[in-house]
């Protein structure tokens, strides 16, 4: 299923992505950041996603923009994952929400875009204290993805 997405921009390093959500609450700048990190000698990239707040000059993690375009936003974030891993085929991408509700949103994004995602990515979800290949309908607390 090819879900509608917003066009997005990326930085020269391809670690930062921006797009604009457009809806009843106006235009809201969304940012996706792939932060390089290392755990026990393994390099990976942490996916962070949030609303840019021009007034405070940083990401506002408490923002609930409610622009009635959730699916489009999630599809766009998924598209940045595909683009990022296309650029860096050996990169592992880790994602979890800052709250359980936001983690559920990531899960929904993967499930909704799985036809496209599964073509290119191997996705694992963390549940029951272990990593498992991603399956729809299972509640996970974190995700790891890598290019096939």
């Amino acid at each position: 299923m090819d879900l509608p997405k917003y066009p997005f921009f990326t930085s020269e390093t391809f670690l930062d992505f921006e797009f604009e959500s457009n809806g009843p609450n106006g235009k809201i700048k969304k940012v996706v950041r792939y932060s390089p990190q290392n755990a026990n000698g393994v390099t990976y990239f942490n996916l962070g996603f949030g609303d840019w707040n021009e007034t405070i000059g940083k990401i506002d993690d408490s923002a609930i923009s409610n622009n009635q375009d959730r699916e489009r936003i999630l599809a766009t974030v998924a598209a940045t994952v595909l683009e990022f891993t296309r650029r860096f085929p050996d990169a592992m991408v880790y994602a979890t929400g800052s709250t359980p509700a936001r983690t559920r949103l990531y899960q929904m994004a993967i499930a909704a875009n799985c036809n496209e995602i599964e073509l290119f990515l191997t996705v694992y979800g963390f549940a029951d204290n272990n990593w498992h290949p991603f399956k729809k309908g299972v509640n996970y607390t974190a995700f790891l993805a890598m290019r096939k």
Partner: protein
């Protein structure tokens, strides 16, 4: 649609063909406190719980290639 912010110049796609992309300045958000905090939390989680064996093996295989 993907646009790389900066100056216009041809770039190679994965297939090897060239395409023009628009480039302007997307800033580096690496120092944003939200992203820094999230990355630190992810490190703590993965140091405690590890990575899937299959993904680690794939990474090793790609490194050898």
């Amino acid at each position: 649609m993907v646009f790389t912010r900066g100056i216009s110049m041809p770039t190679k796609t994965k297939s090897g063909s060239e395409s023009q992309v628009k480039r302007t300045a997307v800033r580096d958000y690496g120092n944003d406190p939200f992203f820094v905090k999230k990355a630190e939390k992810s490190k703590a989680f993965l140091e405690k719980n590890g990575f899937p064996e299959a993904l680690l093996n794939r990474k090793k295989a790609l490194k050898k290639a």
